[in-house]
Amino acid sequence: MRLADLSFDTYQDRLAERGVILQTGPFSISVKSRIPSVIESIWALYRDYPCLDNQDFADFHIDIRKPKGIRRWFHPQVYFYFDDHAPFQPLPLNDAYPLFEWGMNWCVANFAHRYLMIHAAVCERNGKAVIMPAPPGSGKSTLCAALALRGWRLLSDELTLIDLQNQLAVPVPRPVSLKNESIDVIKGFEPSAYVNRSFEDTNKGTVAHMRVSTESVDRAMETAKPAWVILPKYKAGSSLQLEKNSPGHSFMWLAENSFNYSVLGKGGFTGVAELVDHTESYTFTYSDLDEAVEIFEQLATSS
């Protein structure tokens, strides 16, 4: 059953009372909230996701809710509750929906040590995955959104999970988080893309989320073999450059951008090393999205 199979009223009641259980890749997440922006955004962005309506188990239980005291009304705030405790400081109520998305990432990054977890976008074409580890501001999410709109299957825009048993990338498809200028860039790039409303002045600037394709959601149990590690660098006015990285460089990038490289100990080291051995690595500088997508297209068809 998909979320959209519920009526909006039923959905809203469940979200307020016992929680709605959504499935994203290997994880089931029970979500509760009574906050309008959260109710509307989940409804719009997660409509295709499996909704485990009659299951009484969830991997994570989260609640996005307002505080009890004065901050419910005066400069209202919002908390992310992971089960019974709030792991972070509250944020302004305006950030409720982005907080839900960040909180979901936190759940996975904190607990899923079965995987090597890398802060990277990951997309697949013809059975091969491209991993893009990069710091914020490098245009990783923008590039990933563009690829997802041009026939690539999105596995995740933030969290690359590598199953250490078989070195395959495991999808956790979620809405793509676009920031600041990239919101309009993506709307211009593909006017038919569904981009949810913007949340302004969050601690990451203006944030809006793009819905992922039904196909990405439906194939969320399908892993992909990593073929490329690409470090994207958006540089205004630059021409396209694709430079090969040394294995050492690629290793350091992956390790530095991993959430649990050190938690995995030796497993982290061998996991990254194997990934480097089985992928080609490039630094990719771009300014024009259409040209960038074209290069990825060539990569996917050439080998």
Partner: protein
């Protein structure tokens, strides 16, 4: 099989993981949440692992495997930190007595399995605490409470100096010279503890308390303290220690005599009551008779045990209600009275109320 208590899944399972064979998915859900909130998920995972995950549904397995990975990593980190501490103090002729979590890990005791903790606790002789602090500072650990009031508060009244944090690795050390504050009602003699310490590494300066003292310390810490968030974990430590050491000749008599010498019979009494109640620890009936003076008066005992029973439930909403909340509040207040006389406590709390950032 006994009928499973649907509310407190965690303690039932810690007692006997075989019961997992009959869990519904709803009960698994509760179990996982209670274990996570109590900081006992890794510990529970080890128990499942010992049984080859026999009864764990495939879909849930990763939670337990992941918790073990995390705990393994923590054990490595603790071993490394302790090595650094030992090296930092190598030139001092001072025994470093590891307490609680770090002690269990380094002495390879059963209570170390999957035990999650954040700070490393040490006990050193009071006369040498300044030298110890200097050596640790030299190795990169810096005092954390920088304002004058807190510094004085710790150094004058507490049983430890302000926590020290490593400037690069962020590890936190609590360096103690006793196991209770200077101001507390009970006043154990630290030199007694130090006289019985056991060396755990022939080439180094690392020690742990004697088995009886480890149990008494853990009991004192829990039953004099006002926060029971880790209560189930601490009681489990005591259960493990008792089960591991109880076979030694004269163990029970030694334990009781030791608690009396340290003026800590009362916390030991409560600890034994509650490990037996929760984890079914084997304790000979005559031990409670031997504890004689440690027992509270009948009515007090009844009341206190009820308070502890409420506070020692998993800190998860499925096990919590208005009664547990009042027990928490009562025990929190009690802890303050036990640790500090009123003429010190009132000015301290007043200051903290108005200048919380101090």
């Amino acid at each position: 099989m006994t009928v499973m208590n649907d509310k407190n899944m965690l303690v039932e399972m810690l007692r006997d993981v075989q019961q997992a064979s009959s869990l519904t998915m709803h009960q698994w859900d509760l179990l996982l949440r209670q274990a996570r909130e109590s900081g006992l998920l890794s510990r529970l995972s080890y128990q499942f692992q010992q049984n080859h995950y026999e009864h764990v549904p495939e879909q849930l397995m990763w939670h337990f495997e992941s918790a073990i990975t995390y705990a393994e990593r923590q054990r490595q980190v603790v071993e490394w930190e302790v090595r650094c501490i030992s090296e930092a103090m190598a030139s001092l002729d001072v025994p470093i007595v590891l307490l609680k979590g770090a002690a269990y890990v380094m002495a390879v005791l059963p209570s170390a399995r999957g035990r999650i903790f954040s700070d490393i606790d040490l006990l050193v002789p009071k006369q040498q605490i300044n030298a110890v602090e200097k050596s640790l500072f030299g190795a990169g650990w810096v005092t954390t409470h920088l304002n004058a009031y807190d510094q004085r508060y710790y150094r004058q009244w507490m049983h430890e100096i302000p926590p020290m944090q490593h400037h690069q690795r962020r590890s936190v050390l609590d360096v103690h010279h006793n196991i209770l504050p200077v101001t507390a009602r009970a006043n154990p003699d630290a030199s007694l503890l130090l006289s019985e310490i056991k060396r755990i590494d022939e080439n180094k300066n690392l020690y742990v308390l004697s088995p009886c003292d480890m149990i008494i310390h853990s009991a004192t810490h829990l039953f004099f303290d006002g926060e029971f968030e880790h209560g189930l974990r601490d009681l489990l430590d005591m259960h493990d220690l008792i089960t591991y050491f109880a076979g030694e000749v004269g163990f029970w008599q030694q334990l009781v005599e030791r608690a009396e010498a340290l003026t800590l019979l009362r916390p030991l009494y409560y600890a034994l009551m509650h490990v037996q109640r929760l984890y079914h620890t084997e304790i000979p009936a005559n031990v409670f008779i031997m504890l004689g003076k440690g027992k509270p008066r009948a009515l007090t005992g009844l009341f206190m045990n009820r308070m502890f029973e409420l506070a020692l439930r998993p800190p998860h909403s499925s096990c919590r209600n208005i009664a547990t909340a009042s027990a928490d509040a009562f025990l929190y207040t009690r802890a303050h009275f036990l640790r500090m006389p009123l003429h010190l406590l009132i000015p301290h709390l007043t200051r903290k109320a108005f200048r919380p950032d101090d």
